[in-house]
Symmetry: C2
Subunit: 332 residues, 2 copies
């Protein structure tokens, strides 16, 4: 008997628990040559999943209705007829929201429990760290002494972006949604300044104050009015990495913002959408750098771990509402 | 006695004739060693001048109040104490709106009346052509078989962009504001499709119909609702050149548009402000290519020439309102 979580309805606006279906299934878990039986250990819940729940055309195909949802998962090999894996190995990959599942071993990566905690392979040295590192470097091209603004700064990706910014010698300003998060930015993650957008009346001025020399690189996880306020402060030749637009993902009407075009042309500035999978060739190099920094204690990370496979949809909803600190992960 | 046109007021919203001041001055036109006396022949009026009339920070400093306006000008050398120029030479450069002026010869380029009409040095083989060629190639990076959309397509830059697009083997769609202009796009400039945004109810659908495979490169001269409609049709890895935002230059309130961030992230798309002066190193190569195409009759251009130095401000206002076809130039 295994448990599965399916997409029941395409969410309209904010997703609800009732958009998900929990199912107990008595399915065949026997494996044939080349296959593995996996037991789910950790499940990653991420903003981009909201996009896949809609039917709109995007860079990854939408989830199908009445089919299991999938995301980054760390699993344990509990039976194997594949010579590359032995019982007790841990693997990470894009897997389905099931307590157990059969895999042919393709697109899985072995992970080493002794090098880092298993959950880190979904975070700081997994997609989260890669997104931060490659987005910042490949599009942001930061130069020591420049000013970096990060939105969603206390989130999984944002907190790593800011830390890498500090390693690279930047003046780093983080924007987050509570005083507690803003405190974390400066005390735990070493940001130079933190701004609480929920209690700041004039964001444009607050950014100007924290970035008196203007903004050279903006790592944008949120879009919406926060990004509008950053725009007023960009420098000539500014680079804006659009990594996410969480503030508008749940909108049912086409969201409107300050027109970016006049700011971009006035400043010869660049704005580019970033999707980590387009940079797969650079993963080995980036993982090596991230692991080194982690070992040298130059990087720290926070995670919110929710216990219980059944709580995966609620963990996703909470993450969308900013209730997590750092990477949101479910321990199955 | 010379005539000068000064900036009297910083325009609020749409510029008015009363924002300019006409002045007759009895100034010393004698020249000393190294200097030239220039007589203005042709004056270029361009959308970017609107930006310089505001006090806002931009890539070029604002015009000063009660000082002459300057723009691209072709002038005749009528006296010289500079060994690099002789009487009767023609030069082009950023000069003041004066019937006559003294120059030290710096930042002027000699132009050859026999190779092309003098006005072309303000257009197809001047800044206009360079803007089209370098914007399209350096940011747009077009590949044969791709689809290019050009807004402000019947304008000076837009009409050249579309023609270069055809030379490079693209499917080219132009957007303009009258049936007459749209006819020109296909009949004179060889665009594949033209769309009149003033008579088209659903621009999003009209673009989709003209670009069934989606839009790979968008050369944007206008911003505003036209650009919003293009956004809905961009392909993965689309490149958007922001060359101007004429539709919002006269707005007194911060203009709002459809949020671009979700489109950019979904499509890993790029949007970059283009200012031709940042690419000065590539001017010689670009001018060579443009002259070659012009000689081979692969490029054609249109210009609207207004007679009379005194009509320069009105020509600027008319250009801002789309009354020109092709490059708007004043014959002094």
């Amino acid at each position: 008997m295994i448990q599965t979580i399916l997409l029941k309805n395409r969410p309209v606006g904010e997703p609800k628990i009732s958009d998900f279906e929990f199912k107990k299934e008595d399915i065949d878990l026997s494996i044939t040559d080349g296959e593995l039986l996996l037991e789910t250990e950790y499940i990653s819940v991420d903003p981009y999943l909201r996009g896949r729940m809609s039917s709109a055309k995007s860079y990854v195909p939408p989830f199908e209705l009445d089919k299991p949802i999938s995301s980054g998962i760390v699993a344990k090999v509990i039976a194997t007829k594949n010579e590359n894996y032995k019982e007790g190995d841990f693997v990470s990959g894009l897997l389905e929201w099931k307590t157990k599942q059969v895999s042919n071993g393709e697109n899985l990566q072995k992970v080493n429990k002794d090098l880092a905690p298993l959950s880190a392979y979904l975070g700081i040295i997994g997609m989260t760290g890669l997104t931060a590192y490659l987005g910042l470097n490949e599009i942001g091209k930061p130069k020591s002494g420049e000013t970096l603004v990060v939105s969603g700064a206390a989130g999984a990706v944002g907190s790593v972006v800011g830390q890498i910014g500090k390693i690279l010698g930047l003046n780093v300003i983080g924007i987050a949604g509570s005083d507690e998060k803003v405190d974390m930015l400066t005390s735990e993650f070493g940001f130079d300044h933190g701004i609480n957008y929920k209690t700041t009346e004039n964001m444009k001025e607050a950014i100007e104050k924290a970035a008196p020399n203007g903004v050279d690189v903006y790592f944008d996880n949120v879009g919406g009015p926060i990004s509008d306020a950053v725009l007023f402060n960009i420098n000539q030749f500014a680079r804006i990495i659009i990594c996410g637009a969480i503030s508008v993902y749940n909108k049912t009407e086409t969201p409107m913002s300050v027109s970016v075009q006049p700011f971009l042309v006035k400043n010869s500035a660049l704005m580019q959408g970033f999707i980590v999978s387009n940079y797969a060739k650079k993963f080995p190099e980036a993982m090596k750098q991230l692991s080194t920094w982690l070992k040298e204690d130059k990087l720290t990370y926070s995670e919110t771990i929710v216990e219980g496979f059944d709580n995966t949809p609620q963990a996703f909803l909470d993450m969308m509402n900013g209730k997590n600190k750092g990477k949101m992960i479910v321990k199955a």
